[in-house]
Amino acid sequence: MRKPTWIVKTEKLPIKDPNDVVIARQRVRVWALDLKLSLVDQTKIVTAASELARNTLEHGGGGEMEISEVTDGIRRGVRLAFSDHGPGIPDIKLALSDGYTSKQGMGLGLGGSKRLMNDFTIETEVGKGTLITATRWK
C-alpha cells in the first residue's frame, strides 16, 4: 500500500537543451538543501536528476521537469517528475535493467536512478510519451 502524498510546493523547468540539464541539477540541489537532506542524499538526488533529465532530452526529445516538496504527513521529501512527448518506452522492465541502452552509453540511466531514489514509477505509452516520477524521502 502506498501512502497518499501531498505536494507542499512545486517548480517547473524546461528540459530542451544540454544546458537545461545543468540548470536542472542546480535547482534540485537548492531544493535538497532547503529540505536539509544529508550530503549523501543530496548527491544521490542531484545525480538521479542529471540522469533522468538527460534521458528526457535524449530519448524523449525534450520535455520538462517538475520539482516538488512532498509530504505523507510524517516524512518530507523531494519529488522529481520528468515528462516528455517522445516515442515512449516499449519494454519498461528491459529499460530498467543495467546495461540496457537505446543509444550509445552504459545504460545505467534508468536502473541507476531508480537505485538512487526511494520511490520510482514510470508511466509510458508508445508513440505518446513518458512520465517518470521519482521521490527521495528525508
Binding site: P18, N19, V21, V22, R25, Q26, R29, L39, V40, Q42, T43, K44, V46, T47, S50, E51, R54, D98, G105, M106, L108, G109, G111, G112, S113, R115, L116
Partner: protein, 131 residues
C-alpha cells in the same frame, strides 16, 4: 568557447575540473586531452575532481574513456580527490569504474604517476645493480 584548462608539468598533464560540466564540455575535455597527449608525448594524466559535487554516468563514462584512450596512446591516467558522497552515489548508480586508477589527492596521484612513468627510475635501478 568554454574550455577546461590543461596544465603541463614535464611529461605529465594536469587537469582540475572545477565547474559543473555540461556534457559537451566533458567531450571537449576528452578531445583536448587526447590531442595534447599525442602532441606532447605525455606519459601521465592527472585529473583532479575534488571540487566536483556529482559524477553522473556521463561524466563517469567520459573519465573511463579518457583513461582507455590515454592507455592506447601510452599514457597512464589517475583520477584524484573524489568526494565520499560522490563515490557512494557512483557505486549505487552501478559504476565502479574498474579501469581507472585513483588516488586520494593530487600529491599521492603525482607520486604514483612519477613512479610509473619516470624513465629515470629504471636507469637508477640499473646503476644500483652495477654497484
Amino acid at each position: 568557447m568554454e574550455r577546461i584548462p590543461i596544465l603541463r608539468m614535464g611529461n605529465l598533464l594536469l587537469v582540475t575540473i572545477q565547474v559543473d560540466m555540461h556534457d559537451k564540455l566533458a567531450l571537449t575535455l576528452q578531445d583536448d586531452l587526447t590531442a595534447k597527449i599525442a602532441d606532447l608525448g605525455a606519459k601521465g594524466v592527472l585529473i583532479d575532481i575534488s571540487s566536483l559535487e556529482i559524477v553522473d554516468s556521463f561524466i563517469g563514462r567520459t573519465l573511463a574513456n579518457i583513461a582507455s584512450m590515454a592507455r592506447v596512446l601510452d599514457a597512464q591516467t589517475v583520477v584524484v580527490g573524489m568526494q565520499p558522497a560522490v563515490a557512494i552515489t557512483l557505486v549505487e548508480l552501478g559504476m565502479s569504474l574498474p579501469g581507472i586508477r585513483t588516488a586520494l589527492n593530487v600529491e599521492s596521484g603525482m607520486e604514483y604517476l612519477q613512479q610509473t612513468t619516470s624513465p629515470d627510475l629504471s636507469e637508477e635501478a640499473d646503476v644500483d645493480r652495477e654497484d
